[in-house]
């Protein structure tokens, strides 16, 4: 394998995701790196961030030591509510999710397969404590699903794979994956590279991807 490339930090991955969110979108943010997306709203756009525990209009986390214990996000961390925010109960929250009212969901992953399958709730095994949260509802109901995750596990195993070996969260539901190394689309033909992180080359990403990876699509000449 080539030497370690740096790629994007967690914050840069979160910012990179935010850059792709169209103005006016309602967006659910999951646990982990997705929580960081709430820090970023690209200039000139208005986005409404949703957290499954009952808040639309979620803002970034408060100053260290600030905030309040009854204003938290899906990861149970303290957040803020922006002007125009709304609180609601869980049945309404999942009416938004399952009923197709949210435009986009950003969540983490253990594995994503080239056919869009996602595994993100359990590593299986008899000793594992399974914990699903709202992930299965989100992938069943939200219009577009973006995954943000490290490209490989702590042990160096690929997280982008031909077929998930961990229990599934949903079948064929992932649209796009943002990693520390690249942005990758899930297409009818499988994974397709969209963009490389600065200082990362295609071969480096390919070595760390456990499934075929189509090259970046050349811009089509205008007719």
């Amino acid at each position: 394998m080539s030497t370690e490339a740096t790629g994007w930090s967690r914050e840069e991955m979160a910012r990179r995701v935010a850059l792709d969110i169209p103005d006016g979108s309602y967006v659910n943010l999951g646990i982990g790196i997705p929580e960081l997306v709430a820090r970023y709203v690209p200039e000139g756009r208005e986005l409404v961030y949703h957290t499954e525990n009952g808040l639309l209009g979620m803002g970034p986390s408060p100053e260290e030591g600030g905030g309040e214990p009854e204003l938290i996000n899906a990861g149970k961390k303290r957040v803020t509510a922006l002007p125009g925010a709304a609180y609601f109960h869980h049945a309404d929250s999942f009416t938004m999710i399952r009923g197709g009212h949210l435009d986009l969901c950003v969540l983490g992953a253990l594995q994503v397969a080239g056919n869009g399958d996602l595994a993100n709730w359990s590593v299986g095994g008899p000793d594992a404590i399974p914990a699903v949260g709202g992930a299965m509802d989100l992938v069943a109901g939200v219009k577009a699903i973006y995954v943000v995750t490290q490209h490989v596990t702590k042990n160096g195993d690929p997280k982008l794979v031909e077929a998930c070996t961990f229990p599934l969260t949903g079948r064929g539901i992932v649209d796009r994956v943002y990693t520390d190394l690249a942005v990758v689309d899930v297409t009818a033909e499988g994974f397709r590279l969209v963009e490389l992180a600065p200082g990362v080359d295609e071969a480096y990403v390919r070595e760390r991807t456990g499934a075929p990876l189509l090259p970046i699509r050349e811009p089509q000449p205008q007719p």
Partner: protein, 236 residues
């Protein structure tokens, strides 16, 4: 006269019997009715089935109830929160069973139970291990699984303000499961920091109408789980 006020948390939980199903409000620490849970620990009922999104943290509140081995079965979506150290031990020892339910399915099962709907079809969990063994049906070309409504003998929840009719308003994201649990509990008790006279709540702003509430307990300065955990406290 209608007056649902109850003098103490101890009195509010006095009727909980061994083997009861108890819904407990809260998402993490937000909305957790810690004082009612501690009263339930003191009360001593065993073999409970508890419905909550999580399994508590540290050794206070819900985690303390589980640690005291009062909970035979947890129905929840996410038993793996930071500082949730009690549940994994009892789960692996086979002392507390787990029914893992996707969070939105859990919410809808509670909503359905409170609304008199025995079962419903949902797309959530199709194609995953959590759908195995459940009835499947296709509507308009899409596959769904059958899930059952959920009711409880008791629901213990936390609000911010109530009146003696049991009308409740909540605080920010502490609302979460409380309004739907209030509808699904045969006997719902809400602990609130403030009780006002009838008319003191704007009818347009009432979140839980009093018809869903059987008891109101005044807990003026409720504890917060994270603060108790940070201080290393345990209950009892």
């Amino acid at each position: 006269m209608i007056d649902k006020r109850i003098a103490s948390c101890a009195e509010a939980v006095a009727d909980v019997f061994d083997g009861a199903t108890v819904m407990i409000g809260g998402f993490g620490e937000a909305g957790s009715p810690i004082e009612l849970i501690h009263a339930l620990i003191d009360q001593g009922a065993r073999d409970l089935t508890v419905v909550n999104n999580n399994t508590g943290s540290g050794e206070v509140g819900l985690a303390a109830l589980i640690k005291a081995e009062r909970v035979a079965r947890m129905i929840c979506s996410y038993p793996r929160t930071t500082n949730s150290t009690v549940f994994p031990v009892l789960y692996r020892a086979g002392k507390t069973q787990l029914e893992l339910v996707p969070q939105g399915t859990l919410a809808e099962r509670i909503r359905a139970g409170g609304a008199g709907i025995p079962a419903f079809y949902t797309p959530t969990s199709v194609g995953t291990p959590l759908a195995e063994g459940k009835e499947h049906r296709t509507f308009d070309g899409r596959e769904y699984v059958l899930e059952h409504g959920l009711t409880a003998d008791f629901a213990f929840i936390k609000g911010r303000v109530a009146d003696r009719y049991g009308n409740v308003v909540y605080n920010k994201t502490a609302r979460n499961f409380a309004p739907i649990m209030a509808t699904a509990g045969k006997r719902t008790v809400v602990q609130v920091a403030e009780i006002v006279e009838p008319g003191g709540l704007d009818p347009e702003a009432v979140v839980t109408p009093g018809i869903f509430v059987q008891g109101v307990v005044h807990v003026p300065h409720p504890a917060h789980e994270s603060e108790l955990v940070a201080r290393g406290e345990s209950y009892p």
